[in-house]
Every structure is written in structure tokens, then in C-alpha cells.
Symmetry: D2
Subunit: 339 residues, 4 copies
């Protein structure tokens, strides 16, 4: 049994990770922390998540001696970079589900997050955690930067196209629609039912959302040249799910069949990627699952193509992918606890 | 008092037109038809729409002699083209809220709607009914083709940019999100609560939705050259409202201030267009109103700009705009019954 | 023009009152306060409420000299009782939309609200503000206690039955379903979209919700004997609206026709009460209106009857009724600004 | 492996049963029928339900020879009574998820369903399928009448109280709130998103809904005297889930502790019943599960008590309970495929 520690277990992501891990046949939860609820039983905070086992939530400061094989950080941005080192020093491996270890370059991190990176020396060794694209490096990594929710679906949709050079890396438009849980469990006016219900709104559109930096960094890896992404997120009246509609320019006259074949070649054996050229991805088909549904459509009369991808922002976009990374790192069946 | 006839009063659009017209100080409803409910009292079908006046719904075949000044068709596509002539011959003026009289060229109509146009000679005289853009021609028109819901918000957002030549007409991307009432009151599986709730899905994306033809026709008028639009509608879990997020390429280095100034110059005095460069358009701010909320944002680091527009698909996108057209045609205050 | 002051204008109730009052032909808004946003323009907080007039929000402490004819308190419970006296002393009349002046007896108040009442001497003169039931006393009142949202629909449904003695006052069951705005605009976990969406939950059921005391007090007035009410509120996934389903025991063998006739006699001329014995009340028919929809049904095979009532909790259940009270107090048309 | 046949696999209940059964370790799906989609692959109708196995939907008329151990009818009311006999004659066992075999007395059936019962001789042998209450009889039954969605939660909540005689069987009030899937997948105006969203409405309240007969029959079994139930269903804006709030009169001065102890004694070991006296049942905690969450609250100041129960109408209220019955009938672990 892999012993898993969860740091920050009472946000939506941490709770989802706890829920998934508690049902995982090869994992036991070694500890779970919450600064807000430390000292309380998990069952008092989330009565339905793990009724059979009454774990007590602890403070991050109180687990310095607690044993674990892998530790997942589901903390707010900026916490993990100060704390991960201590766990690595104790021989544990870490998956950081926050944004602290997704960037190669601390200056790029700072440009998007407006704070200095306090553990720049760890960035080099951190692996960007999309198993479908980085499986081998994740297997042996001590520190995995688990991707953001928006980047996951977008990068999975574009990587096969960019690595084969069939689309232009410099003019990519992502129009993304996210459920409200993507904004977290924080008490913000924007998250209130009455403010969100029965209405859709854009926010931080253009080139300003923090996930732009992460997306461009990863896409550039596949394109071999600097990518540029226009990114427009929209707050959508649903609890979970992200649908990303991505507009690209096709080079070399690739047909729809050519493009779909690239997906098939790249992802045909992937357990968590479902390709369909009949129905469109819909968020309801992926919520509560670790699937990413993908489709590509060439547009008549121009060189445009449209990639549509759907994931559950809390599962494949966060906790599920974290667990998938834990599986890969630990030599477990990659799908264990996730089907 | 202007006597208004409503053909097809029991779909969502017809019902909305009835609701608005029944509260209009300068309009009286001369008759209302419904093939499905003919012979029934309106109050039996919609108990709350017009409780003070118990009009009986009639069949379209039974109103050949009924007097009216203006007749609005809220019928399914393909009905108005066979019926409008008879009303015009009797000296009435017509606003067709269906798609039958939006196109200049019957062959273009046929290419998008897959049926021959049965009244091609009337297309020449029909005026495309966006008052903010065609007010003078509408004033004297006998036949107005009321725009589609998606085209209204998109065209209003792009016309000022195209007529000043500051964006490229050949590479426009519209990513639109519509509430479910846009699909009508028909009994289709796709319209059921359980199929739509808590999920978002694309449909007919690329260059295939019928509104593409209408949008491209109108945009070409402003650009003076053939326009090309990629158009991706999404079915969104809300009752009403359309948010269109439109991606354009800016020419000539126009700044955000330049672009916003074009909006201000074009629409500053328009009662139904609200410009904002602070908050984004949200559908909840426009539902149940005839407003179109508009904003434009240049994107850092590229020549892209993003136009966001929000309307209520049943009001400014259909019945409200029809009434606005009736106001203009009849010499009434353009905002009467609509504020 | 009646000059209206609004104390606490930035909660859902205060905002709704502002919205309604700003469109009222006989009222001008003298001032609006907000402790949270004092010093800011209203338009910065709510961009769409009153775009034509850019009022600055003030602190309650800063309006000691501001002139007004009527002042409405939309403050949290416990504020008005400390502040109302000063306004009355300056010759203004007050409608308290909070709970501070709904009770006759300060000890009853304390038993439900767990705090002493700091202005018990004012309770005697305060009139309970349901115009349909207390119109004459409201007309001349200096201080009106505007009813709670749940009590409004329940009391309107039961008063005609109790004053005619046709139902048992001692065994009344109210099962109420409220939209989320009833919980206010406060940042509470329970109000987050993700916690509420797609689920229904009871809360404070039985004889514990604070509105029980208010309902029992008012019902006892009509029954002439002590009433007893079981009250079960449910948080329902909708933004606005309350549906109350009330179960009563019929005495004296009154038929359904008898009961409906009591409603007709009592409310037939009331502009804001709509009686229907065909369709059931639905919250969608009353949201954004000041209507209370009412129906009564005798149950086959027993002495039970069921009263169903629907209101908008923010309009007839709060701000709309407050404005109706202001109309009555000020000699304005009772429906002004409310149809 | 138990071979399961599903008759009527393309409504919401049949689809849910297929989904659950396809993941059940001890069951293989022998055939699935659909009159509407016969001849089509299941994957064309529901792309995500069973992607690994491409079963072809057949007509009920085409499976006369198909082998199976148990057959579940998920057909509209009135179909099973004509068809079940043929399957029983071939030695198969049957769970009827429709209403045809829930009643003891064909005349009672007819009084609620307004049609004659065409297989009255089978009613005697049919067992009412709530395993928690009828487990032994279900084990050996050839024909199980699977309960209605509303009755399941109500009966589970009341049986322990009635069999101990602590409540009055003659004055029970059930106020139930159901998600929209309870109305089925039929194309009815009332099921459209726009008609249901953001609003709550009662329907068929009092003593008229068909489930009243079923509830009263079963409750009478436990009370040993004729029971009487007032039943008010409400259509609630959510996809799944039923919350029933039931008001009863307590006899003999039983305390809340006494009542809770009855639940504990009856259900303490039941895997699908969760008792809680802290938080209330909420539908979100039971959707997509086979759980019934239960709680009881004595009401201060009277002899009333309130039972709150929550289930997923499609799982414990239909397909999940059917599978639980199949497990019991077949000697499988009762929770197999259901946790």
C-alpha cells in the first residue's frame, strides 16, 4: 500500500483527492491537513466523503514527522514552494496540485503570479504532470507539478498537432467555459449561487489569465517554437466541468482525416482519452470521471480547425490527474482508483 | 394606436412579443394566431401573459379579413414566405421574425436553408431589421426581415469596426453561448431539462450553422469586401441570453482606445446599446431587456482584439427587436414599450 | 415627490428596493447607505441598477441631517432598533424591512432572536406591514414592521380561513421552499453555487426557525386563539421565489367552493393577489413581481386542505411590500412603481 | 454470472439500469430492448454508457427465445402486465420496475391507474421489492414489483414507526420534492429546460397522485390498520433526487431518542440506509448512489414529528433498487455493483 499524505484537504480539490484516494485499492491515506479545520474530524466537515474511517484533520505544522510515500499539496498558490523541500528531504515524493512547480523559469513564474519564487532550485527537477505526454519522466520524478485545470484539456488537444507541425503555434485561440467549482471553495461574492445562476460571463480574457503562461510554456515544448495563445475563460452556470473550444490554423493542407489520425496515433491506447468524431464533447459526459473527451473539426472554406475538449476540472483537471500521477510514480496500475 | 397582428403567438418568441406588445402604450393587439392552440383562449395556454384581456387564438387561415397596421410573423422558417404577400397586398406592413426575409439572394437562402425561396421577388424590398444600423430604411419599409438571435449581437459588435476598416473581414471567429430558449419551445430531446442541466455543449460548429450566411452577408455590407466567419454556438444551461465572444485581427495598429472610440461614436446615443470598458457583459444584466451590452479588448502581444456582446435572445434577439422595428416603422418613440 | 431614504442599500433586499424605487414615478431617492461600500458610487457596486444617476453611498452615521419623508431599513437584524428612534424624532416615518419591529411583545422577540430588544417602547406603535390585512393602520403609522419573506405568503394564505373560523389554528403545517437569495448576500459557505446547485435540503425544520414566532403571532390575531405552526423551510436551487405548501384541518365541513369563496371575498379586489383554482402557483410566475399567487385545495377522504402560495421573496416578501407600504403611508396609488 | 435482460433500456430508468448492470461484477447483460431504437447500437443512442461492448438494441417481440436468468421491465405502465407471463413461463424471474405488479388487489390498481389489470392472477405471487423490508420474500420470489420512486423513501421512513405503533397511521402528510428525471424522458412541455429551470411547482397534490395508493397499501401492512396519506409532490429544478418531508403525529409520548432508536434498531446494519441526527438529508449526498438518507425530528411544543428522507429517484428509487432485488434473488452480495 502506498501511503499518501494530503496537504490542504478541505478545499474542493483536496476533498476530491481525498474522496478518490479513499476508494483506491492500493493507497492508504497517511494524513490529511487543513489549517481551517485542524483538530476536527473529517466527518464533521464532509460527512459523506469517508464515513468508515474517522480521520482527524491536522495542521501542516504538526506533520513534520508523519510518514508517507507520496504527499500531494492541494494548497493555495504560494504555500507549496515554501514547504515542499522539507518533505523531499525526508525522502518523500511530492505532487504539487497548486501552481508552484509548473514553470521551468522562476522569472516566468513571477511574471504571471506577481511574487518571487522561493524555491527556484527545485523547478529544474519538477516534471509537468500530464501522464499522457510526460509519462516516463513522471515515473521517476520526485516532484511533479500537477497542471492547471484549463491547461490540461487545452494541451492534450494541441500537443499532437504541434509536435507534427500541422498547425501554427503563433495564433491559437482558446475559448474556455468552466463550472463554478473551478473558482474554489473560497467565500467570494462571485461564487454565490445568486451571482452565477442562469447567466454566463467572461473574465480575464485575452492574454491575462495566469494559465496562459503555463499553456504557452508547454505548447512551445511540442511546437519547438514560441507559441502564442489568446485565452478567454468564461464562468458557466454548472458545478463542474470545463469545455475548451480551441481555434487553430492548419498548415500543409491537412484534412480532417489527417488530423483525426494524429489523435488516434497519439491517444488511441490512452485509457483516459476518448476520441469521437461523431458527437461533440459535453461536460456532462466527463464530470466525476478522469476522462478527457477530444474531437477535431476542420472548418469549411478556410484553414481553420476547431479542437473541442472536455474534462472535469476537479478530476482530470486536478485531483484525478494527481492520483494518476501518483499511480505512475508508484508503479501502480495507472487507472487504479480512477475508473 | 397601432394595431398589431401576431402570427404564431405560442412559441417562445411569439409569446414574448405578445407579452411586450400587451404592455406597449401605443399598440393594441389586433389578433394572435396559433395553429396548435387555435380556438383556445390565450389565458388557457399562458395564464400570466395578459390576464386582463381574454383574446382567443385563431388560425392563420381565419384572419384573412382581420384589420391590422403591422403584422409580425413568429412562425417556423418557411411559413412566412408563403403568407407575407397576402398581407402586403392588403396594405399591411410586415415584420418577419423568422428567417425567410433576411437574405438578399434567394440562392444564398437556399444554400443555407436547403429549400427554394417561394417569394424571391419580395427579397429585394425587404430590409434587414437592426434599427441601430438600418434605421432610415426600416422607417419606410413595408417588409422587414428581423435578424436572427446570434447575428444581432455579433453584427452590432463588428459593424463599427468593419465600416472603419480597422479589422480583417476575412478571419473572424465567433464563439457564442446561448440559453436554451434559443432552441424554441419544440418537444425535442435536446431541450429537456435533464439533457441540458449542469452541462455545456457545442453544436454545429465551424461554418455550418444557418446563421453564418446571415452574419457574413451583413458583415460584407460594412466591410465592402467578402467576409468570412467561423461560428461556434454552444448550448448553455440557462433559460435566456446569448453571450458572443468574437475574435478579430486588428489592422493599422489601432489601440484599445481607438476601438472603444469607434463604438462610442457609433453607439453613444443609442438607447439600447450599453458600452462598458469596466465590467464585462454578462447575460444576467440583459435578460428580460432589449439592451445589447458591448465591450472590446485589444489583446496584449498580438494583433487580436476580442469583442464581447450580450443580449437576451428572445428580446433584442427576436421579439424586442421586432417591436423596436414596429416602433420605427410606425413613427412611435423607438423605445416605447421596451424600457 | 416622496423623498425616500434607504438604509443598507447593498444587500439583496436593499438593492431590490433601490431598483424598484428608482423606477417609481412618485418617489425620489434621498439617500442610500452602505457600511461596506460607503464613499463609493452605487454604479461601481451595481453597474446596472440606476445607470442614469450616480448616487454616492454613505455611512449611516453620515446622514443624521439628511432630509427624507420615509426611511426604509434594509439592515441586518438588530440594527434598526438602535437607530429608528432618531429618524422618528426628526419627523420621518420608517419602514423597517428587518425583523426588529414585527413583534408586539419584546419578550417574544427575545425568545426567538436571543437578544434583548433595545426599543421596546416603540413596539406598541409599530404596525405589521401587510397592506392587504392592515391597510388602515399602515396608512397612519409612523413605524411599520415589514414582514419576513416566509410569513408574507403564509399569513396571506391563512388569514381569510382563520378569521372565518373554518380551520383549526392549532395544527398548521407549513412546508416552504425558498430560493437562495432568501439567505442574503453574505459570504457563507451555504450560499455558494456549488453547495446549492442541483440539490434541495431542509434546514431549521419543526418549531425553530425565527419566522415561526412571527407567523404564530399574526395568525393568532385572526383566529382569536393561540395558533401553533410546524414550519419546515427548504433551500431550493433557484435564485428567487418562495413556494409555501400549507396543510390545515378544515372544521365545519367547508367545501372547496366554500374555501375558495372566502379567498374571493377577501382578496377579489386586491391588485397584488392572484387567485387561481386551475393551475397551481409556480414561483416563476411571481418572480420579479409583487404578486402573491394563492390557491386552496380540499383533500379527498379527510378534513385536510392544502393552501399553496407563491411570492418573490425579495419583492412581495421584502422590498416590493416595503414600497407598497410606503405608497399606502404616503397616499400614493398603492400599485405605483410595482406593476 | 447472472444473465440479465433489460426490457425498455432507453428511458432514464432503463438506461440507469444498463449503466449499473454493465459495471456489476456478477452480471452480464443478455439483451436489451427498445421499441424506439430497435436495430440501433446502444452506443449510437447513449455513447458513454457502455463503450466497450457494442450491444444492438432489439424489439421486445424479437427476444422470445433469448436466454436470461432475470428480466427487468423498465417499460411504461401497462406493458409488463401483458408480457411478464411469457418470461415466467420460460423459467425466468422478473423484476418489474413499472407499476404493474406493486398492488395486491387488481381493483385498487384499477382505481389508481384507470385501466383493468390484465394479469390479476400474478398479483398474488408478486413481492413488493424493498429489500430492507421484504428481503426474505424477495429471495425466493419469481416476480418482484419494484417500488415507485416516491414510495421508496416514504415507506422506508415510516415502516419502523408504524410497526412499533408510535405514530398515527391515519394522518400522515408527505411533502415531496423531486428532480425532473422523475418525469421520464418523454417529450412533454413540462419537461423542457425553460419550463422547469429556476422555479418550483406543486402538481397533483392531496390524494390524487398514483403513488398514494401504493404508499397507503404498504404502510397499512406495517400499521395493521388502514393508513391515510396526504401526498404533495413538487417538481424541483434539479436533474435527480427526491427529498420527502413527512409530518406524523406521535403517540405514547415517544421522545426523539425513542424514535431515533427505532431507526437504529431497524436499519443499523443496512448497507444502503444512512441514519443521521446531525446534518439533514440533502439530495446531493445521495444522487448517483443507492443510499437512502434518513432522519427524524420531534417538533417542540406538539405531538408532531418530521421524517426527512432523501434518495436518488433513478437509483434507490428505481434502477438501483431493481439491481439490489436482482442481487437478493440471485444469491449475490446484496451490495454488488451498487457501492
Amino acid at each position: 500500500m502506498i501511503r499518501l499524505g494530503i496537504i490542504g484537504a478541505t478545499g474542493y480539490t483536496g476533498m476530491e483527492l481525498y474522496r478518490l484516494a479513499s476508494r483506491h485499492p492500493g493507497i492508504e491515506i497517511a494524513f490529511a491537513t487543513s489549517e481551517q479545520y485542524s483538530g476536527q474530524k473529517l466527518g464533521e466537515v464532509f460527512p459523506r466523503v469517508d464515513p468508515d474511517r474517522d480521520i482527524t484533520l491536522r495542521s501542516l505544522d504538526d506533520i513534520a514527522e508523519a510518514p508517507a510515500d507520496v504527499v500531494c499539496f492541494c494548497t493555495p498558490d504560494g504555500v507549496a514552494m515554501d514547504r515542499v523541500g522539507a518533505f523531499l528531504d525526508r525522502g518523500m515524493r511530492v505532487v504539487d496540485v497548486s501552481s508552484d512547480f509548473r514553470f521551468d523559469d522562476p522569472e516566468v513564474y513571477t511574471s504571471w503570479y506577481s511574487r518571487p519564487h522561493t524555491a527556484p532550485s527545485l523547478l529544474d527537477s519538477a516534471v509537468y504532470g500530464i501522464p499522457e505526454l510526460n509519462r516516463d519522466r513522471i515515473r521517476t520524478a520526485d516532484l511533479v507539478g500537477n497542471p492547471g485545470c484549463y491547461p490540461t484539456g487545452v494541451i492534450l488537444g494541441l500537443a499532437p498537432l504541434l509536435e507534427e507541425g500541422v498547425i501554427d503555434a503563433g495564433q491559437i485561440i482558446v475559448d474556455a467555459k468552466s463550472g463554478v467549482s473551478g473558482a474554489g471553495r473560497g467565500l467570494k461574492l462571485r461564487n454565490l449561487y445568486v451571482e452565477v445562476n442562469d447567466s454566463i460571463t467572461p473574465y480575464n480574457i485575452g492574454h491575462s489569465h495566469r494559465h496562459v503562461g503555463e499553456i504557452e510554456q508547454e505548447l512551445s515544448r511540442f511546437s519547438g517554437e514560441r507559441s502564442y495563445v489568446v485565452f478567454s475563460p468564461h464562468l458557466t452556470p454548472m458545478s463542474r466541468g470545463i469545455l475548451a473550444t480551441t481555434y487553430v490554423r492548419v498548415k500543409n493542407g491537412a484534412t480532417n482525416g489527417d488530423l483525426a489520425a494524429l489523435y488516434e496515433a497519439r491517444y488511441g491506447d490512452e485509457p483516459f482519452i476518448r476520441l469521437s468524431q461523431s458527437g461533440y464533447p459535453e461536460t456532462r459526459f466527463v464530470t466525476w470521471t478522469n476522462y478527457c473527451d477530444l474531437r477535431i473539426d476542420r472548418v469549411d472554406g478556410s484553414d481553420f480547425a476547431i479542437v473541442t475538449s472536455a474534462i472535469d476540472n476537479l478530476v482530470k483537471g486536478a485531483a484525478g490527474q494527481a492520483l494518476q500521477n501518483v499511480n505512475v510514480m508508484s508503479g501502480l496500475d495507472e487507472t487504479a482508483g480512477l475508473l
